[in-house]
Symmetry: C2
Subunit: 586 residues, 2 copies
């Protein structure tokens, strides 16, 4: 198996040549000295860490898994040392708030680091991603005392974070959760309850583990309005401020999972754990959404990272593996990368992955603009794009990441099914990204039910207009068919959006349309990005790269974009046929 090669060249191409990174950064206060050259050298270093330290632990970590003995969780060999090295090198704090010791670099660099972490070692990357999400929630919602106590250590990665939302009876529907928080009279609360599926719930990296826990105060309203958010650390501060005292929480079990075996997914028991309220009583879900939104983009990058790693390895294998005759009739055996059916699988993986990266970068740039641009209207507009695209990045990059992992595994034939080759791990690991942080069905409902209608539909309309402007006729004639195909698909998407919104009053109609609509939206967006990438490459890149990006753009629009037609048909059929089937006879 060839080693993972961090795709820094493509990242650099996207930042500098496709998305005018230097110009965008130059207008953001504090980012004036950040440019593509600097970003590339940071990504280069980060990529080396991922490829040299983390990827070699990926398969052994999968085989060895985590263990729970006498209440203590052990991660696979090498993980604690790698985590310490990750923190020492400063990668944990890349985009963290400088006032708490972070490096304050742009979100877009964080996102690309996340992709590489995920390509190299999904289980490992999850520790870092959850810590960042927890820290962000504390940053935005907790009081100063909690911030001062927790953020410096969390932002630098010394301490890690975990999100404790799900219970056996409350998954997608958090309104059903039953964990209780009893006021102790001294400003603290005692948590009682059991949470499941708690990633990074415990580990052996040292340092504290900061659990953000959703629970109900006494007399709280039923449903989601009665949910508050609490902070419960594994270790409490003793009188000297050291973390000496074990809090009353414990790992009930480790979940046995399909994949991400090196990630200790815990059943957590809170048996009177001391906790502090974050934000207002009853506003827990609101605070949790800060965490979830950050995590959703992160999970999108997990899907993308798996797709990148898997498709890279499939391409490398197809270059070496010789089977069958050549297309010119030569006896062979020839490298299978020359067989059109194998190439189709490879190109699908590459086309989905590179466009997904472009979408991730574009969205993260909007996050940076939303956070720093001097003009409030520009900030608001960028924030609208981020809100609109978060469910799209999460669901599309993970669905397409899984598709890419499966197709890449297929390229290996029987070897793809054998553990030693590593391809089947990508499929097993990728599968969780479609499920957690809100299933992709939940993402689709979020897009159709909340994000399209928000602000009277302005963000969606603006986004469509932005794509349309950018799709104005290109110079290169060879790109015209692709450009026209995407422009026409965009027109259909806009009509379809109107159709979907006109039926939004009936949850059956929204549910029947949501997943297909999200995929349609994502494919049109990917089409726009392919035309943009090919157009920019024609102007800014070497002739060879320009030709290649043109071929990829044409491949995407002729082979993958047509899926939108099928999706549109399905959506326009509405909910009636879905609801008519007889439950008892299914």
């Amino acid at each position: 198996m060839t080693a993972y090669v961090p795709p820094v060249a493509d990242m650099s191409f996207l930042l500098g040549d496709v998305f005018d990174f230097d110009e965008k950064m130059s207008v953001l206060p504090g980012f004036g000295d950040i440019n593509t050259g600097l970003a590339t050298s940071i990504l280069d270093e980060a990529g080396k860490f991922c490829a040299r330290i983390l990827e070699p632990l990926n398969r052994p970590g999968d085989e060895q898994g985590c263990r729970l003995a006498d209440g203590v969780v052990s991660t696979p060999q090498g993980f604690p040392a790698a985590y310490r090295a990750f923190v020492t090198a400063g990668w944990a704090g890349l985009s963290g708030a400088p006032e708490f010791g972070g490096q304050g670099l742009p979100h877009v660099l964080q996102l690309l680091l996340d992709e590489m972490l995920s390509s190299a070692n999904l289980s490992f990357g999850l520790f870092a991603g959850l810590t960042r999400g927890a820290a962000e929630t504390i940053f935005h919602h907790a009081g100063d005392a909690l911030k001062q106590q927790y953020l410096p250590k969390m932002i630098q990665g010394e301490w890690t974070g975990a999100m404790a939302l799900t219970e056996a009876g409350a998954g997608t529907d958090l309104g059903q959760l039953t964990t209780r928080a009893e006021p102790c009279g001294d400003g603290t609360y005692a948590l009682h309850g059991t949470k499941i599926f708690i990633s990074s719930g415990d580990h052996d990296f040292g340092g504290n583990i900061v659990h953000l826990v959703l629970a109900r105060l006494p007399g709280a309203a039923a449903g989601v309005r009665g949910i508050s958010l609490f902070l419960a650390p594994k270790f409490l501060a003793d009188e000297a401020g050291e973390t000496g005292l074990r809090n009353r929480m414990s790992v009930g079990a480790l979940e046995h999972k399909m994949g991400i075996h090196a990630q200790p997914t815990c059943v957590m028991n809170y048996d009177g754990a001391t906790a502090w309220l974050i934000g207002e009583p009853g506003a827990g879900l609101n605070a949790m959404f800060t965490m979830m939104n950050a995590e959703r983009l992160f999970v999108g990058m997990q899907g993308l990272g798996i797709g990148e790693a898997a498709s890279q390895k499939a391409v490398a294998y197809a270059r070496e593996r010789r089977q069958g005759r050549g297309a010119d009739g030569s006896l062979g055996p020839v490298p299978i990368i020359g067989h059109a059916d194998v190439r189709g699988m490879l190109l699908t993986g590459r086309a989905l992955t590179e466009a997904g990266r472009a979408l991730g970068i574009w969205t993260a740039l909007q996050m940076d603009i939303a956070a720093r641009h001097p003009d409030p209207a520009t900030r608001r507009e960028a924030g609208g794009y981020v809100a609109l695209l978060t469910p799209v990045v999460k669901a599309a990059c993970t669905d397409f990441g899984f598709e890419t992992a499966v197709k890449s595994q297929q390229v290996f034939g029987g070897h793809g099914y054998i553990r030693e080759w590593g391809m089947e791990q990508y499929v097993r690991d990728a599968r969780i990204t479609q499920i957690y942080e809100g299933t992709n069905g939940v993402q689709a409902m979020d897009l159709v039910g909340r994000k399209l209608p928000m602000e009277n539909g302005d963000p969606a309309r603006r986004f469509f207009a932005l794509m349309r402007d950018d799709l104005a006729p290109q110079a290169a004639e060879e790109l015209e068919p692709a450009r026209r195909a995407v422009a026409s698909a965009l027109t259909r998407l806009e009509d379809l959006t109107g159709f979907v919104l006109s039926r939004a009053g009936d949850p059956r109609e929204t549910g029947a349309a949501a997943t297909e609509y999200l995929h349609c939206f994502a494919l049109v967006t990917y089409g726009w990005l392919w035309v943009r990438m090919a157009g920019k490459a024609a102007r800014n890149s070497s002739p060879a790269l320009a030709r290649h990006k043109l071929a990829m753009a044409r491949y995407f629009t002729s082979r993958l974009l047509p899926r939108t037609v099928a999706l549109e048909s399905a959506i326009r059929a509405g909910a009636a046929d879905i609801m008519a089937a007889d439950d008892a006879l299914l």
Copy 2:
């Protein structure tokens, strides 16, 4: 987790109400007394065996896996006893030749047994399927002495079979294989070589294990024309005719796989193993195709069986699991089967599974007709359908089986990712069915490159005409939109077939079209079958079942059939965009 319920009612509906089983059997010599009632009671008993004996071993078998110690393979606890019970009950010989102790029942019953075996325990079913394929090859190609010696025990399942084709450097491209067969001068041969991925290569069920091995004779031609087929048993007959002597073959290793852990997939070393030639020198691949064609239908049923089991369990879970508000706005929590997005996943699984079963039954009926019909033209015609549809059944039922397993797992949310719930095993197990017995890419190339053009395209033309005749206007008005949609998709498929065949001279064009074409062919065929099922249910079934099948037919045609439009666009784009991408930049 609910228990698997053998879908005997649907099988009985398909045989009796949809495909005129009694009438078809009545004209086949020897099958005059076989009818739907008899078939149903046989399937009922077989289903009980699968549900009661085999399914309880499925998850433990996955957890425990197979072991190799001191050259001896152990299957998981309970497997040897279950296998003996399977043989004793007579299930191994259901469709075997009566002259060798088989029961000689129709292929269609065998196919439905295969589906249920696969639903209950894919790893277990593979032992039976491979034995049958090996026996069939011996039956058709070996001399009388070998037949007399091996077939009685194999057909009754006392002895098992294995196919030894693949080598590390020779997978899809068998022409590269290097295993040698040296004549010993006494009519036997000594085999030297190493084969990989040998399912059922060894086990602890007792009895002999009959390996069919592809190898080269000295001086054989290069490529596939130099390949011969040999029979090498694990135990040789001693002078008393007992199987006392160990042949010179050994298990080099067990493969570590993504799934089917209870199936001992072996690396086999043949170190001068005594073997007998089957058929003519150099005709090995031809003989092996007998085995592979039987196995391909079997593997299709494996994919179907996994889809059936997974979607059954998803439906059962969705009936019980309560999350979220009702579609009528009621507070809930309501069973998630009422949520349109969940229903969409469930209905997709059911629609693909039930149509796949119909396709399997129709194809197996043609096998029975091809084997027994008194009229040679009818036999030839039926044989053409079987040849045409074999790659479709294999690839479509496994691709859709995998899709169904993934969607069914998704219905379980986070629980779907947890091993104890059993859903992730279906995904892991299903994945092999898309890869082995010729990857689904190979099936697609077989359909487009060999089966469409065979006999000047007659079988394909006849099959399209048959579907068109059957799609003549129905009585039920509610079925009209579905019928029209399928009829129109069929017209497009026929045009598309001409387009694909017109480019068949260029392997790049064939490769670029093959997978999408096979899916398009399968979806149109499924559409025809849904219209037929709904139409027959309207005439022959209870009003409730008729309404349900109508809803399913409408669901299939409005939500899944439109995929054909996207596939057609992709196919018509041709190979140019696939070939243009720069290998070095992928």
